[in-house]
């Protein structure tokens, strides 16, 4: 770290090296490779700290990229007519539905606190670990067996970023990740395809809840709905709205 401006001064007086810009460009592009080399080879406490910091960085990067993408695509949408057409008598009435949603959420929270859950599928077969998680062998001689891959459908949130692959204990394959569920309203017998907000509880185990594994009987959040099929067999999630 220069303590004075002698570098700038020299540059002002004599200019840059002839290959300066070329070298700079190449060094910067090599930086990515060197970073990944370091990340792979580091061990011990240093590695832990570094990986933690890097994970946080990655999450930030993902968020900014997403925001940029949204900004770019928005210009196209402005020309198109927005969705959600409503008749004239409903135009000035946004506030009502939002209030209803909020009051519904409050009611459901109250119900949950009181522990009163009228669930359509009360008894669900418990799924053991061997069924839900598959062992993945790693290591030079394929002897280590601490990684697990989820074999059932799961839900990961919007801002989900994978942990560094070296440290991932639970792998949730992209093919088994679902964002939408077919929710049936029991009274109206109408089915809607709605986005999932989260997994509330998986009856088999709390571990599965934290992982976001969706099996028959799982309660997914939003307006609570309970899953009624085996999604890994059907390829879609069918649920019944809990009213």
């Amino acid at each position: 770290m220069p303590q004075n401006e002698h570098i700038e001064l020299h540059r002002k007086r004599h200019g840059y090296r002839l290959d300066h810009h070329e070298r700079k460009r190449k060094k910067e592009s090599r930086e990515v490779h060197e970073r990944s080399h370091k990340a792979r080879k580091m061990i011990g406490l240093k590695a832990k700290l570094y990986h933690k910091q890097r994970h946080a960085e990655k999450i930030q990067m993902k968020k900014t990229i997403k925001m940029h993408e949204q900004r770019k695509s928005k210009q196209k949408d402005d020309d198109k007519t927005p969705e959600g057409a409503v008749p004239a008598y409903l135009l000035d009435r946004e506030g009502q539905s939002r209030a209803k949603v909020l009051s519904n959420m409050i009611k459901q929270k109250r119900k949950e606190k009181a522990g009163k859950w009228e669930v359509p599928l009360p008894k669900v077969r418990a799924q053991g670990e061997t069924e839900v998680l598959k062992v993945i062998r790693t290591g030079k001689r394929q002897k280590k067996a601490w990684k697990r891959m989820v074999t059932k459908v799961c839900f990961v949130g919007d801002g989900f970023t994978r942990k560094p692959p070296k440290y991932e204990r639970f792998i949730r394959p992209m093919g088994l990740r679902f964002k939408k569920a077919h929710v049936t309203h029991p009274e109206l017998k109408a089915t809607f395809c709605l986005p999932i907000l989260g997994v509330k509880k998986n009856p088999s185990s709390s571990l599965y809840t934290t992982l976001g594994v969706i099996t028959k009987g799982t309660v997914i959040w939003g307006k609570y709905a309970q899953v009624t099929n085996n999604p890994e067999n059907d390829g879609c999630i069918n649920a019944v709205l809990l009213v």
Binding site: T81, E83, G84, A85, V86, P87, A88, Y89, L90, L91, D92, E187, L188, K189, A190, F192
Partner: protein, 487 residues
Amino acid sequence: THRAVITHSSPFQTYVDVERVLIQLQDETGEVLGSPFDVPLDISPDKLQLVCNALLQKPVPYLFFVKDAEVVSSLGSCVQELGLETEQVLPVVYQPQAVFRVRAVARCTSSLEGHTEAVISVAFSPTGKYLASGSGDTTVRFWDLSTETPHHTARGHTHWVLSIAWSPDGKKLASGCKNSQIFLWDPITGSQIGKTLTGHTKWITWLCWEPLHLNPECRYLASTSKDCSIRIWDTVLGRCDKILTGHTHSVTCVKWGGDGLLYTSSQDRTIKVWRAKDGVQCRTLQGHAHWVNTLALSTDYVLRTGAFEPATATINPQDLTGSLDEIKEKALKRYNSVRGEGHERLVSGSDDFTMFLWNPAEEKKPVARLTGHQALVNEVLFSPDTRLIASASFDKSIKIWDGKTGKYLNSLRGHVGPVYQVAWSADSRLLVSGSSDSTLKVWDIKKGKLNADLPGHADEVFAVDWSPDGQRVASGGKDKCLRIWRK
């Protein structure tokens, strides 16, 4: 008072010793028919009907009322319930019903896809020949009713088509969009007539044509918008004729009355009465405590159908025939017969859960305040014979009120979500309602009960209309398809 004493003197002859009572037949306005005469107390409505037909020489079905209570089984039971004296002359009011009877719709004959966004407004033409629907995908589509297939797609709007209105002669359709433009379409070719009418600065909330009997050419159109103004357009020249300002908030509804008065309701809690000829404001009707959402005139139905008489409807709807003068005369005759002696009555529904019944041509004070709903009133409609008012509200119920006095009659419950729109059948015996719970329900007014439940839509039902010839009901909603229902 004696009970009826039946003594059998022989198996073939029953000598019935019942009370007799003097009744005086009156019509709704109080005019007496003939002189008081003597009838047995247990006379049934059928026999009364025969008497009326004989006296009036018109074979029309009637309903009979003693002091606003309908005579259902026999005059005697009615009198007993009311506790009236049989010594005096009893006034019995007769009400002619529609000669034709509209059959209730029971099945969905077709589900017309085509719109790529929610269907926001649906309207049958005054004769019931054409059907038009406006949607969030900025198109207005015309549908061929005999084959129940798409006919034309009218493109031109740049935003959601919020309201559509047929001209009373059925030759033009006006549609207003969220970008404050109004287009006129020809239903036969599906192409635009004339220029685009621009001028409003915010979205169009309601469109209303001038009644046929005032101008058989159907030239003038009134439009209201969120920019607090009402514009009267000359559709032949394609320009704005008058601008009526005065409201301070969005104008929600406009009705062009048959006497040359315009009624407008607004979110500033007032209803203003204007003279259509020169655009001068006559009156401001105040009383509501929140936004006034909707207006209904007692002569609404007859102004909408113009010269078309639903009783003369045929299986295949026809266009109006005759010269302009003939049409104007027919429309005027129909209008006068429906309006009756008094002036037009106006009912307004509001966000303050109540409605007011007004006599706007005469006075500023309301005739009655109709309370009872537990959520905002979204639509009110007079029945085609102006005797009843139906109000649809977000509290999932529909209430029926008397059209003259505003007295509460009946509540129709059954929907599980806010009721958005209602439509009367042409004979005023049936009512269809569409709600956000995606079902339509047909109600029998006489019994006060549900006649048919029509599920089928996949999402909220935004617009409902019953064709003036009574054959079909059309409904459109958020699930982007238009459904046609028949008996």
